[in-house]
C-alpha cells in the first residue's frame, strides 16, 4: 500500500510538470477543477463548450514511468440514422463541476489510480463530435478499467446535464429520456 502511495506522489509531481506544458483545450471557456485529489493525484475536471483534445489529455496522464495502463472512454453524438442535426447539452454551471469532481475524488479513493480526467461538453454538439471524455491511469489495467467505468456511470446519473435533440428538418425535438440501464449501471457500484 505504501508503495502505491509513493508511486502516486511521484507520478503527481511528474504530471504537474507535464500539465504546464500542455495547453488546456479551450482554456478560455474551460472551467478547471482542483488539480490534485487525495494523495496529490492529479484530477483534470472540465466543463466546456469547446472540442475535447483527447490526445492532449491522454499524453498528460500517460506521461509518467509509473503508469502501466491508461483507459479512456469517449462518448460521441450519434446522428440517429441521419435524423439528428445536433444534440443540445444544457448544464447547471457550478454544480456540474462540483459533482464531476466529487465522482472523480471518489474514484481516486476506491482504486489505486495515478491520475484521471473527466471532461464534459455543453452547448450544441454535432454528430461525430465528442460529448464526454473520461480517462484513468494506473499501474495495472484492472484499476484503470474499473475506475473509468465507475466515473462514466456516475457522470451519466449524477452530473447535471440534459440532452435535447435538434433534428435535420429544423425542428427541436424532445428532451432525451433517462434510461433505466444507466441507473442500473450506477447501482452496481453501490453493491461492491
Amino acid at each position: 500500500m505504501a508503495e502505491t502511495r509513493d508511486s502516486a506522489d511521484l507520478a503527481a509531481t511528474m504530471y504537474d510538470g507535464g500539465r504546464e506544458a500542455v495547453p488546456a483545450s479551450g482554456a478560455s471557456a474551460a472551467i478547471k477543477g482542483e488539480n490534485a485529489g487525495p494523495g496529490g493525484i492529479p484530477i483534470d475536471i472540465r466543463v466546456t463548450s469547446e472540442r475535447i483534445d483527447a490526445g492532449a489529455v491522454t499524453s498528460v496522464l500517460a506521461g509518467s514511468g509509473a503508469v502501466g495502463a491508461l483507459v479512456t472512454f469517449t462518448g460521441y453524438c450519434r446522428d440517429e440514422g441521419g435524423r439528428l442535426k445536433a444534440l443540445e447539452l444544457e448544464h447547471y454551471p457550478g454544480m456540474a463541476e462540483r459533482q464531476i469532481e466529487k465522482i472523480a475524488r471518489e474514484a481516486v479513493t476506491r482504486w489505486p489510480i495515478l491520475g484521471c480526467a473527466a471532461i464534459h461538453r455543453y452547448g450544441l454538439i454535432a454528430p461525430g463530435e465528442e460529448i464526454v471524455l473520461v480517462a484513468c491511469s494506473s499501474a495495472h489495467r484492472g484499476a484503470a478499467f474499473e475506475a473509468a467505468s465507475f466515473l462514466m456511470d456516475f457522470m451519466k446519473t449524477s452530473a447535471p446535464f440534459w440532452k435535447r435533440e435538434h433534428l435535420v428538418d429544423g425542428t427541436i425535438g424532445g428532451w432525451v429520456e433517462t434510461k433505466d440501464t444507466d441507473d442500473a449501471a450506477t447501482d452496481r457500484w453501490h453493491r461492491l
Binding site: 447547471y92 454544480m95 460529448i131 451519466k156 452530473a159 433517462t178
Partner: protein, 83 residues
C-alpha cells in the same frame, strides 16, 4: 431563496430562475414542490409528477425529505441525461 430550473422543468415553468419567499409550513423539499405546483398552470405542468423531479440544494443532490433551512439556492430539474 433562489430557485433555479433546468431542462423541461425550466421550459414548462417559463423562467430559468426566481427569488421566492417561502410561506410558513414549507419546510422540506417535498413541501416546496407541492407549494410550487399550486402556483399556476405552468408550475403544475412542470411538476405533474413530483416523484421523478430531482432537487439540489446549493449544488448537492438531496432527497425530497431534506429540510430547506439554510438553503441559498434550490435547483429543480428532471433526471439527468448527460454523458
Amino acid at each position: 431563496m433562489k430557485l433555479a430550473y433546468f431542462a423541461w422543468v425550466r421550459e414548462r415553468i417559463g423562467i430559468a430562475e426566481e427569488e421566492v419567499a417561502l410561506p410558513a409550513g414549507v419546510v422540506t423539499v417535498g413541501d416546496l414542490l407541492y407549494w410550487l405546483k399550486g402556483r399556476g398552470e405552468t408550475y403544475d405542468a412542470a411538476l405533474q409528477a413530483p416523484e421523478i423531479i430531482r432537487v439540489a440544494i446549493d449544488h448537492e443532490h438531496v432527497d425530497h425529505s431534506e429540510p430547506l433551512a439554510g438553503a441559498r439556492e434550490v435547483a429543480i430539474f428532471p433526471p439527468m441525461t448527460g454523458g
